[in-house]
Symmetry: C2
Subunit: 230 residues, 2 copies
DNA sequence: CTCTTATTATGACCGCCAGTCAGTTATTAC
DNA sequence: GTAATAACTGACTGGCGGTCATAATAAGAG
């Protein structure tokens, strides 16, 4: 009796198809300017059907966002796997996050959504939980990396790996947001290149968290950022 | 012929009255859940009249936000004026920004709005310009403070004051946002107090920007943050 | 005080859209 | 073939941002 399983599979496939349509529309128009009618049309379904698979427009938005978090997580795993030491990995994470920002700007934009609680009106607890689970996974990667560095003696013993992760990730993120919104403004009015600021900020934080020993041996790595300014 | 002036005054007063009503409603419900009808009712005017004074709901929102920026700017001026050295002032700015966050949470929430360009659909260029002018003023305060510290020899000569301001302010801001949204989650799941992280992050940054001389003389100031952890 | 003109205010109305639900179509079970 | 179940549809509702013809009020002229 494989009928039940086939149905299950087909249902999952529908969910994916709807998600594909939603992703295309959200990427093009953003949350506010996308309509469920347009998503339905793109998915070649009626609007009512969308609501059989997702509870609200915002739930659908979050579901697309989770794909972005997946991608980001995968990227982090790759970077950490292909880097030597924790310090190097941390630095490479910063670089890769910038690449993610450039390459997947659409997903990055979606991530903003989580920062404004007033927008969450229609998000179901389930979907929110799924989203949190996904981000927790990635946080864990970074925290563990700090932990490893502390144990190996490259990061200071007196820092808390969780705190360090929060500080580094938050500051990196906030500067990327600023690049996204205000890059030209800073360039024109004050002749400051925010992209450079991003890398300097990362370097500064890493330096201040490293032990003296590690600092001398990794100085060349972090000085990459200086070579960008002639 | 004072009639014209009186009319001008009355018009300005109406604008203020509308702004007061809008502020009350936006504070209570946020941008998405506030309606122009409710604001009109609170202002004891018809909806149509609102549009004689403000171009859109979002313009009105920005106008309220500018009040928040005003408040913040005033606070910064006070703090800098009543602090001794640039380092001390910078540290106090961090503390005061946290107080602002706690006391004027409603304004802080409004500030998010600027980070999501997709929400700006209806903002008029004029209003946006007014908003930028206001934030530029405050940025200038912080940048000048760094400049002064560099000249006095408390901050390293090799840092760019503008970059330093961006890094410090952005990272502080992003951690406050995290406190706002996720404070309980971090406390419960990982037993981390984000408020402490906020102050540690500020201290870390300031330390890494100070000269060695300044560091030794201000160590006691920044160690405030440590005394919070038994 | 009266008439004309200019300014300010009104609220019914429009178009748009998220979400609903009674009804239709397709699929499975017997 | 038929009953039962599942999947899908699209017209409809309610709510809201924004508009505009009209009304009310105030100012100026005679």
């Amino acid at each position: 009796m494989g009928i039940h399983e086939r149905k299950e599979r087909e249902k999952e496939q529908r969910r994916e198809e709807i998600l594909n349509a939603a992703q295309a529309v959200f990427f093009e128009r953003g949350l506010q300017n996308s309509t469920m009618d347009e998503i339905a049309e793109k998915a070649e379904l009626s609007k009512g059907t969308l609501y059989l698979y997702y509870g609200s427009k915002e739930d659908l938005y979050l579901a697309v966002m989770v794909r972005g978090f997946d991608l980001l997580h995968e990227m982090c795993v790759d970077v950490i796997g292909s880097s030597g030491s924790p310090v190097e990995a941390m630095w490479n994470l910063g670089k890769s996050y910038y690449e993610f920002f450039e390459k997947h700007r659409n997903f990055f934009h979606m991530f903003y959504f989580l920062q404004s609680p007033t927008l969450h009106k229609q998000v179901s607890p389930d979907m929110m939980e799924a989203c949190n689970a996904q981000t927790n996974k990635t946080w864990k990667l970074v925290i563990d990396l700090f932990q490893r560095g502390i144990e190996e003696g490259t990061f200071r013993k007196d820092i808390n790996p969780i705190e360090a992760a929060v500080i580094l990730w938050s500051s990196a993120n906030s500067i990327l947001i600023r690049i996204d919104n205000e890059c030209e403004r800073w360039k024109e009015q004050l002749n400051v290149d925010l992209v450079q600021v991003y890398f300097r900020s990362n370097a500064l934080f890493l330096e201040s968290m490293m032990t003296k020993d590690a600092y001398t041996s990794y100085a060349s790595l972090l000085s990459e950022v200086q070579t960008q300014t002639p």
